[in-house]
């Protein structure tokens, strides 16, 4: 029986910059940062995972689309999708979206939507430094259908 989700892949364009973004801007902690299969060009794979401090059982693995794991054409296509901002990578929750929105914005996080009221909570949208978009939500305890549903970007 499946017990839950533990690791989610986020494709990024540069692992060093992504590590900096997720830790210094989003406040995540680094869970693992190691190389397997040897260092250097075309050599190994850097296994880099980060997670929210309050959620030890879930982590994001920040992967670069490149060889040797991917053929060149697939890697290029994936990098293109990330850079174009097409890939939406998930939903982060917060207990105070207005405070955190201001704090993240002050750190230079790119928001594509300021906090707005939705039936399921108050939601903003931001991008990571590679171009992946995330929903950023303070959930409501009960659905409020007087609030609109719109407001996400698809690409």
């Amino acid at each position: 029986m499946i017990k839950g989700m533990s690791i989610v892949t986020v494709w990024v364009l540069d692992q060093d910059r992504a590590k900096e973004f997720y830790t210094e801007k989003l406040g995540f902690e680094v869970r693992t940062d190691m190389s397997i299969g040897g260092d250097g060009e075309g050599g190994g794979m850097r296994w880099l995972t980060v997670g929210a401090k309050d959620q030890p059982d879930v982590q994001l693995t920040l992967m670069v689309p490149s060889s040797p794991g991917l053929d060149p054409e697939s890697a290029e296509a994936l990098r293109t999708l990330v850079a174009k901002g097409v890939l939406g990578a998930g939903v982060f929750t917060t207990d105070d979206i207005h405070r955190d929105y201001e704090a993240l914005k002050a750190k230079g996080v790119e928001f594509v939507q300021e906090p707005q009221e939705r039936p399921y909570g108050t939601e903003a949208l931001f991008r990571d430094d590679s171009g992946n978009w995330f929903s950023f939500t303070q959930p409501r305890e009960e659905m409020d259908f007087s609030k609109p549903w719109d407001g996400c970007v698809s690409d």
């Binding site: 174009k84 549903w149 719109d150």
Partner: protein
């Protein structure tokens, strides 16, 4: 915004390509964020750091529609949402989503949805609307215009002022 518009240092053809896409994306984000404002195409193009002409071509190459078509589609999507859920007049909604002319709004709305704004509202009044989150609705609309919408957009560009204010007008005029 607290980011630079150029991106990281470019050292290879692949990085140059990614930096180019990133600049286009930054400009697209302006339209996604500020769609209700009277956006001027020059200003949007400036976010990418490109000239207006180059921006229109490059944007269409990356995203499949001109900046003007993209902005118009976004605005009509928001108008649909408001018609279904908000207690506002068609004129108020027209203005809220960034159109300066009611006639242009109605024409663009009908091109995209097949209905006039009033007929669209009549269809949805009293029905359980809003069960699909907007993000998924917009994914369904997709990143590219449907063929019918494209041909109508061409007809509109050839036949008169295009929809969606200065940005849309400029973009579609340049591609007619």
């Amino acid at each position: 915004m607290g980011h630079d518009s150029i991106g990281p240092m470019v050292t290879s053809p692949d990085e140059a390509r990614l930096a180019h896409l990133r600049r286009l994306r930054l400009a697209k984000d302006v339209m996604d964020r500020d769609w209700a404002e009277p956006l001027d195409l020059e200003a949007v193009a400036a976010h990418a750091g490109y000239s207006r002409y180059h921006f229109i071509r490059a944007f269409k190459g990356a995203y499949g529609s001109t900046p003007g078509q993209y902005l118009t589609r976004r605005r009509i999507e928001r108008a649909e949402e408001l018609l279904r859920s908000a207690n506002l007049s068609v004129t108020e909604i027209c203005s809220l989503v960034g159109f300066s002319s009611l006639g242009t709004f109605s024409t663009s709305f009908k091109k995209q949805t097949g209905l006039t704004p009033s007929a669209y509202r009549d269809r949805y009044v009293g029905r359980a609307a809003g069960v699909i989150p907007g993000c998924y609705a917009m994914l369904w609309y997709g990143g590219r215009d449907a063929p019918a919408i494209r041909s109508q957009a061409r007809a509109a560009a050839a036949g008169g002022p295009a929809a969606g204010g200065a940005a849309a007008g400029g973009a579609e005029d340049s591609n007619s």
